[in-house]
Amino acid sequence: MTITKNQDGEKLTIALEGRLDTTTAPNLEAELKTALNGITALTFNLKDLEYISSAGLRVLLSAQKTMNKQGEMTITGANETIMEIFDVTGFVDILNIE
């Protein structure tokens, strides 16, 4: 998985490319630990994300919990497969998906 960060002041966009799974989720988790400091608007661009497992969902949920305390979080570009996963897991109701 490739993680691309683009920061503009307090706004951060993170583009994920490839697979967010058991193997790669810890990389994103580690990245977020420091990257969210001082961020009030976080966007995940999932346009090139092919796959997400529960390990990936856990990281997104944890990011959402952090951002609820300090700003907002938005998901963009999720493909049909990923949207279905968000749907069955109820993540459509807890994430702000555009």
Binding site: S53, L61, I94
Partner: protein
């Protein structure tokens, strides 16, 4: 029927998925079920790796078979670890708000929702979890 007997460690996940993907592609599995099967396999294999033999490590035996028309794949996971029926676990409440949601517990739920059939049995000292999914 194809079989892979492998040490149940998360860093073997890539090899497990490679084994299954090669067979799915050989049988012209469509892209969407292939991703759903990948997710299910990951959830099940990682569960075995994390819990079945903890704190030790043991093996998982994975078999893959194809049957029926339209074609379905049948994948079984056998481990000789602690008896555990993942299907007996109550489904997570997917209607809870973000602050109430627990981190975790979603894996087996995703498997149940995305596969056509999921069965568990404990037999001859083995946990045997079988998933079935139409692939074309």
């Amino acid at each position: 029927m194809q079989e892979l007997n492998i040490e149940a460690r998360t860093d073997n996940l890539g090899e497990v998925l490679g084994f299954i993907d090669a067979l799915l592609e050989e049988h012209e599995c469509r892209a969407k079920p292939q991703i759903q099967i990948n997710i299910a396999v990951e959830e099940i294999f990682v569960n075995i790796a994390h819990y079945a033999y903890a704190p030790d490590v043991g093996n998982a035996r994975i078999t893959v078979d194809f049957e029926g028309d339209p074609l379905s794949v049948v994948i079984t996971f056998a481990d000789s670890g602690m008896p555990y029926d993942p299907l007996a676990k109550e489904d997570p409440d997917v209607t809870l708000s973000v602050s109430e949601r627990q981190i975790g517990g979603l894996g087996i739920y995703m498997v149940k929702k995305s596969m056509d059939d999921v069965e568990y049995e404990h037999k001859d000292g083995f946990n045997i979890l079988t998933i079935k999914k139409r692939i074309n």
